[in-house]
Symmetry: C2
Subunit: 326 residues, 2 copies
């Protein structure tokens, strides 16, 4: 979790008075998220999320995130909507931080996703990509290939403390990806962080996508690659072809991957794995005081990267490239 900023009841009540969402009943800091302080707020009108944006989120990006959530919700994607104040604003200030009230979505995230979960995520991701096409704002991906070398430089000197040879392994991979990263693939709005803890389910049914604070414009198939890594490995780090097939087929039914995207997918998945490995490694060596989170294991993504290095085509993901429109 994260609750970096304490909020007093009277200042929260004052903040809420700018909205038409009833009177404050209770609020609890939530042990989730790393970037922001999050509270679950009960009012006489229902449940809401309160997010205080801490310094790791750039204030200039907030209109993109909040605008995207409103845009997607307007296009049938179930995601939290920012609540507007009586003056029509979605962003305010609380306890000295930029702050927003967001719909609270019921649902639980799957600790052990099964193939049905993976299929639901594939479908939702494709719908998100389609719905994002006519979103008017743009945000560059600060954590795409050009952003990886600075992360590598931060973590490199200590990498071998965690695993012998890790520095050279990452260095070689980074060289390869910088050289061969695909260009001219279809781009659009991507979620960029659609891990299981950002997808809510009620029973078997997907009830919402959350946490759009990495969303940006980038290669659409890169988002697919991120999900392959996040959803289709077992806890023993083995790759589950059944889940990958369910995920990719469900995605393809909504938005068919072009031949170029399919050819590039293994390389994109290597990039997606290195990106997570690098940020986890930086976090591992830099747990902020008071962050109240345990850093995630970087080595999980070393294993995933090694797997992706061995993938030669979509067949290794359990799907046949045939029948696909170029």
């Amino acid at each position: 979790m994260a609750v970096y900023t304490d909020v007093a009841a009277d200042e929260l009540a004052e903040f809420l008075s700018r909205y038409d969402i009833g009177d404050l009943l209770s609020y609890k800091g939530i042990a989730e998220g790393v970037e922001n302080s999050n509270f679950l707020v009960h009012t006489t009108a229902g449940s809401f999320f309160l997010t205080l944006y801490e310094k790791r989120v750039a204030v200039k990006d907030l209109p993109f995130f909040l605008g995207l959530m409103a845009h997607l919700a307007g296009h049938g994607i179930v995601c939290p909507q920012p609540v507007k104040t009586l003056d029509g604003e979605t962003l305010g200030t609380l306890a000295g931080k930029p702050a927003a009230i967001i719909d609270f979505l019921e649902g639980v995230w799957p600790r052990k996703p099964n193939a049905a979960h993976c299929a639901a995520v594939g479908q939702a991701l494709a719908k998100l990509h389609l719905a994002g096409r006519d979103f008017g704002m743009r945000r560059a991906n600060a954590l795409s290939v050009p952003g990886w070398r600075p992360l590598f430089d931060q973590a490199a000197s200590r990498a071998d403390n965690l695993q012998h040879g890790l520095r050279a392994f990452m260095s070689d991979e980074l060289d390869h990806l910088e050289k061969f990263w695909p260009r001219h693939l279809p781009e659009g709005v991507i979620h960029a962080d659609l891990f299981p803890d950002n997808v809510l389910f009620l029973g078997e049914k997907l009830s919402g996508l959350i946490d759009f604070y990495f969303a940006c414009n980038d290669i659409l198939a890169y988002d697919v690659a991120i999900c392959l890594n996040a959803w289709c490995f077992e806890s023993d780090h083995s790759f589950n072809v059944t889940k990958a097939r369910a995920f990719l087929n469900a995605y393809g039914r909504e938005r068919q991957l072009s031949t170029g995207e399919q050819t590039a997918l293994p390389l994109l998945a290597r990039g997606a794995a290195l990106r997570i490995l690098l940020t986890r490694l930086v976090d591992w060596f830099n747990v902020p005081p008071g962050a109240m989170v345990k850093p995630k294991d970087p080595l999980e993504y070393v294993r995933k990267l090694r797997f992706q290095q061995g993938v030669s085509s979509m067949r290794d993901y359990g799907v046949t490239p045939s029948g696909v429109v170029a």
Copy 2:
């Protein structure tokens, strides 16, 4: 907060199926509490608290805590009630830990208590003491005077790192309290931790007392002393006589303090301050990994202890000892 134990959605749903409280909609780890893992659970029947008891709480004490909450609620004290399973149990096992479902009470705790809050707490504390009289179970206070010297021994060697002279200051105080601690004062069930974050309000109205996991049998006036320290000082560490008067008068209207209790109150308040100072000091030097809490400032209670050392009678708390039944 504390969320020491991760709970998977399917095991929680299974756990909840033993209760008649509807289906799981969502659950969020709460950034509160130090001793336990707490979750706010939404079901189709409403909101509930899920507490997983971590090792700092002795399993053998749980029937006392849960029984007391049920007893007090049955005597008009607004406090969370443990919810019974279909089999009539209040304690189960989840994720390998003892676990209970507790009513969720709406309300917010006052960051800056005013005199009206203090009066409400005084009244509620006295009612709690009266309601506890016919509670059938007993639990010794593990953190009463005999428990302080082991805490002192744990923290003493490092105390002067925090403040020069702190070790000797505490040692002298401990000697004094061990020698002069009162006997034969009225005893009963005390809350023992009724700090502002354990008292909920909706507007000006007290909406509930929470967190009974330090409750025990001890001198009733010791509970009064704990509250004097916790509620009647300003954030600049000055003592607020108006708040103390409001608190003590409201307490006295429900349960009059005897002459013996009044005479002993300053000494009890010294003990209450030393007790908090010692546990905060031990916590300060022993933040458990993954605890996700910032330890509280021990020095706040050095200042409170020094104030209490200078108190000679109830007059220093803003009330006259006259008119009190001996």
